[in-house]
């Protein structure tokens, strides 16, 4: 539950935003970024569906690359002994 996922904002509607990461879209709450201006094309770090901070495109892409490596390294389902 603790994994932060960088996402790119596609559309903002009040406190909600349609965000995308690697082709996957999610509704994300901007409630915790009330003191920031969040616009389409911005990048945000998302935790359990809530954006907790804005970030740069470079940092977002670097994190995505890392997650690709992690996903490749770790199987999605529990594996047995």
């Amino acid at each position: 539950m603790c994994l932060g996922i960088p996402m790119q904002v596609r559309e903002v509607d009040g406190f909600m935003a349609r965000c995308e990461a690697k082709g996957v879209e999610r509704q994300v709450s901007l409630f915790l970024l009330q003191e920031e201006t969040v616009l389409p094309d911005d990048y945000v770090m998302v935790h359990v569906g809530y954006a907790i901070q804005k970030m740069t495109e470079t940092d977002a892409r670097s994190a995505w690359e890392l997650y690709d490596q992690m996903l490749a390294a770790s199987p999605p389902e529990p594996e047995g002994a």
């Binding site: 539950m1 603790c2 409630f31 915790l32 809530y50 907790i52 901070q53 994190a63 890392l66 770790s74």
Partner: protein, 371 residues
């Protein structure tokens, strides 16, 4: 490994290191990145990276998991919880459901969610049902839960809160005089939310080197280099090696919502006990949304209530006292398919992370070079 990460490694290898230096991390994300990137193998022998209290699922009180199961089975509520929580075992008599997943198989309406937003949506879709959100997590999860409540929740949604604060657990370890580490790598996203200042006590009160790190090898190695330099020069300070996201004061909206919706309480950590000011409870004006008050638990006497399962040393793993494969159950009785302790259940648990990275040998004497 990137050029930048290699460069940090070279700088670390060029240091005239002391005989042994133990660096604690307190974040499952850090432990996963360290293990999967093979940083323990890459670092000089003198540098030990120790996984500590970085898994909110692992320390969630056994009583709270049991209460969530009771609500789903006895109170006819629709229970939602983060998916990680569903396989966390509790101590019950043989034949009874021992985790939320088994309680669901026994007829409980239990649904995994990935966000507090889903809890609200489910409550709205089922206006005639009582919906309980079993919310365990550290500050990075507690802040979104607070935001959910501040934004307003349906009257049929209540919350079974098991929010925990990270720094008080480290403070407890340091104050105990039994801390088995010499430096700290502080959690990047907790500091993003709460601000780096929360970790100043490590330096100010304990003169211990500390650095906040992000989640890629570069940032973790930069933080490692920083605490090594601080240690060798005898000049500890709180370094911020994740400035991309960690800013002074953290996220002010998140902190304000946490202050408004929750109150800080002394809280129980599974297998460890009560830690001062280490938890979140609902503020008194949110009592109407408190599942513990809406569905009061009958007094129950259970064997081993609150404890880790028999033979399980998850508490030692969480406290950084042993490596995962030093637990007698690791890889023998306890694997991700048949987990006994919560550290083998959660994606944030050190045992699960080590197992997923391919470390299959139990109880190796020198664990550090294997992960």
């Amino acid at each position: 490994m990137t050029v930048s990460a290699r460069s940090w490694l070279e700088r670390i290898r060029a240091l005239n290191l002391p005989e042994r230096i133990r660096i604690l991390n307190v974040c499952g994300g850090h432990e996963r990145a360290i293990t999967q990137a093979g940083l323990r193998t890459a670092l000089p022998n003198q540098v030990e990276l120790i996984p500590g209290p970085g898994c909110p699922v692992c320390v969630c009180p056994e009583e709270d998991v049991y209460e969530a199961m009771r609500l789903a089975l006895d109170e006819d509520v629709l229970l939602v919880a983060f998916g990680d929580m569903l396989r966390v075992p509790v101590n019950v008599a043989k034949g009874e459901p021992r985790c939320l997943e088994q309680a669901r198989a026994a007829g409980g309406d239990i649904r995994p969610i990935a966000s507090p937003l889903e809890a609200v949506a489910i409550a709205q879709r089922h206006p005639r049902r009582q919906v309980v959100f079993f919310a365990a997590g550290f500050e990075t999860t507690s802040a979104p839960v607070a935001a959910m409540m501040a934004a307003g929740v349906p009257g049929n949604l209540s919350i079974l809160l098991s929010g925990r604060r990270t720094w008080p657990a480290v403070a407890m370890l340091l104050d105990s005089g039994e801390a088995r580490f010499d430096a700290l790598i502080a959690p990047g996203h907790v500091a993003t939310v709460m601000g780096p200042e929360e970790w100043s006590f490590v330096v100010d009160r304990h003169a211990m080197p500390a650095a906040i790190a992000g989640f890629n090898p570069e940032s973790l190695l930069a933080a490692t280099y920083s605490v090594l330099r601080q240690s060798m020069e005898g000049r500890p300070f709180l370094d911020n090696c994740y400035p991309e996201l960690v800013r002074p004061g953290g996220n002010p909206t998140a902190r304000r919502q946490l202050d408004r919706v929750f109150r800080v309480i002394d809280a129980n950590w599974r297998g460890i006990g009560e830690i001062t000011a280490s938890g979140y409870g609902l503020s008194p004006d949110r009592a109407a949304s408190d599942a513990r008050l809406r569905f009061p638990a009958p007094p129950v006497s259970r064997r081993r209530a609150g404890e880790m399962p028999p033979g399980c040393d998850c508490a030692g793993v969480v406290l950084g006292r042993i490596y995962p494969n030093e637990c007698a159950l690791y890889g023998r009785a306890c694997t991700p398919r048949k987990p006994i302790g919560p550290c083998m259940v959660s994606d944030e648990g050190a045992c699960r992370i080590w197992w997923a990275a391919g470390l299959r040998e139990p109880h190796e004497h020198c664990a550090r070079k294997q992960a």
